[in-house]
């Protein structure tokens, strides 16, 4: 497929998606929002994994972003859209500072510490009720855009497009060479002029900022934050499953994974209201066993073989 055709298809898809509110109802729009939010989380998780670092801290930075957005509006009276950027900044800065310590660790140790971080954030916000509302959390007077469905959808779409662009920048810039080298062989990376620690801190901060941004947007859309809701383990596990299912270390893997699993989860909910999570789990386990490179890996392998 040549480049012009590819760009044209992408543009057409983008126009169709942007126009979705004009031909789809409220239910498809809200489903699309959910899928896109998890898609960007899945992308951000995968972007860090390209350096070989497995994070279980998505929910942590997602929650931090949510709280940053809501609290800066409540106490600072800041414009809702700006609070979402502030959420990204807060999560990114926290990752930068924590990364200086945490990124001394590798592999399982890094993964466990990121999991612990998410829990520590949750405990902290629960225990400063004067600021955060404690267990009950904090409710905004109104959701962003006063709950306007179209505008909310476009905001989420913009974030999704931004996430895809960020992922492609990771794939096409020198970051790609640095992170892939670090993932494949850290000794070779540092012996080839790569400042391993610097690139890991960059990747950790940027992906945490994205998770914070999504958390901020999510909190603004639903108009509240709470310790159990904002730091829910779902925000770590579902994106992770989507990236694994779709295919890791490539932009289209998490994107396709999020769409397929997002739709599957909705459909399963209709047919087996209480058993859908079991089926969902079986799909993921099957994907890990039989599709080591995910759905996108499988497709690209077959397409490549044919051409």
């Amino acid at each position: 497929m040549n480049k012009a055709v590819k760009s044209l298809i992408l543009l057409a898809v983008l126009v169709l998606l942007a126009a979705l509110p004009f031909y789809a109802g409220a239910y498809p729009l809200s489903l699309a929002n959910t899928i896109m939010i998890f898609m960007v989380l899945a992308l951000s998780w995968d972007m860090l994994l390209r350096s070989g670092q497995l994070s279980f801290g998505i929910a942590g930075f997602f929650g931090v972003g949510g709280y940053a957005a809501v609290l800066s509006q409540v106490f600072g009276g800041i414009n809702p859209l700006l609070t979402i950027l502030l959420a990204a900044l807060t999560a990114g800065l926290m990752a930068l500072i924590l990364g200086l310590v945490v990124l001394q660790l590798r592999g399982l140790y890094f993964a466990i510490v990121t999991l612990a971080l998410a829990e520590i954030f949750r405990v902290i916000v629960t225990n400063i009720p004067d600021l955060t509302g404690g267990h009950e959390g904090t409710i905004l007077k109104s959701a962003i855009f006063a709950g306007h469905t179209y505008k909310t959808y476009w905001l989420v779409l913009a974030i999704a497009v931004g996430g895809i662009v960020a992922s492609e920048v990771f794939q096409r810039s020198r970051l790609y060479f640095a992170l892939t080298s670090i993932r494949n062989d850290e000794l070779v990376a540092k012996s080839s002029g790569i400042n391993v620690f610097k690139y890991l801190v960059i990747a950790f901060s940027i992906t945490a900022a994205i998770q914070g941004l999504v958390g901020g947007a999510y909190a603004q859309i639903y108009g509240f934050v709470s310790p159990e809701g904002s730091f829910s383990v779902n925000f770590t596990l579902l994106p992770l499953a989507m990236a694994v299912f779709g295919g890791m270390s490539r932009t289209w893997g998490p994107v396709v994974g999020a769409v397929l699993l997002g739709l599957a989860s909705e459909i399963l909910k209709l047919y087996i209201p209480y058993g859908h999570l079991i089926v969902y789990g079986v799909i993921i386990v099957a994907a890990i066993l039989f599709l080591p490179e995910g759905v996108v890996g499988l497709i690209s392998k077959h397409v490549l073989r044919r051409s």
Partner: protein, 238 residues
């Protein structure tokens, strides 16, 4: 003046002394052989010089600068390149991309320039099929890639850590030719090798390590007749 020199370099791993007060120098433009029995500390020496390990004691000087505390990526940028004893291709990058890494991060080139430099270097090394997956390469090609990845950063000194291991006689002859060509262009080279033919044909001087210490130093003919070297390799008559 020496390009690179060490001053009573010592490296301990727990209770094990891998290097003990090693003082050696690399003179500009020479090929220095580093030999010694297994476990003598040859690879440890390369790793300490390249910054992978920091020495327990002693200092390292490069072009008159003390680089003892410089991290490995800085040393690579300063001009200290190396290959690895065991082949270490970056298997999610293609052949050309593997070589590009050296140019991107060793010299700070843009992707476009790095790609151009990498393909020139590949041509110099006799590598073709640059978009190939690393799994499709022969041992010789991977060794050449490692040399190219280091060379593309334009190092001043290059360590070849058992670069001939696993190659057949013809391939060794080809590699020797390439190393000679590099020396003729002014590169200083440290050769760690078990294949004595290579040491004999290539090196200007040889340093013999044994139990982490410098046992002997001098031209190959001299060193290979040194009774202490012979007994280190063959064991002593009891």
């Amino acid at each position: 003046m020496a390009l690179l020199k060490t001053e009573t370099l010592t490296k301990n791993f727990g209770g094990l002394t891998a290097l003990s007060e090693v003082t050696i120098e690399f003179r500009p433009g020479e090929i220095l052989g580093i030999i010694g029995p297994n476990g003598a500390g040859k690879s440890t020496l390369v790793n300490v010089l390249a910054g992978v390990f920091y020495p327990t004691a002693g200092r390292i000087w490069f072009e008159g600068r003390d680089i003892t505390n410089q991290p490995p990526h800085q040393r690579f940028r300063l001009g200290i390149g190396r290959t690895f004893q065991l082949m270490r291709p970056l298997h999610h990058l293609s052949l050309i991309e593997n070589i590009m890494v050296g140019a991107l991060f060793g010299r700070g080139l843009t992707q476009k320039n790095a790609r151009r430099e990498a393909s020139l270097m590949a041509a110099f090394m006799g590598l073709t099929g640059l978009d190939r997956d690393m799994t499709k390469l022969t041992a010789l090609e991977i060794k050449k890639m490692e040399v190219a990845r280091a060379l593309v950063a334009r190092p001043k000194v290059l360590f070849l850590d058992e670069v001939m291991a696993g190659l057949n006689a013809d391939e060794i002859t080809e590699m020797i030719g390439l190393v000679r060509k590099l020396q003729s262009q002014g590169l200083t080279i440290g050769v760690i090798e078990h294949v004595m033919r290579v040491i004999k044909e290539l090196t200007d001087r040889v340093v013999v390590l044994d139990w982490g210490q410098v046992l002997a130093e001098g031209p190959y003919e001299e060193v290979s007749n040194d009774p202490r070297v012979i007994s280190a390799y063959l064991g002593e008559d009891e």
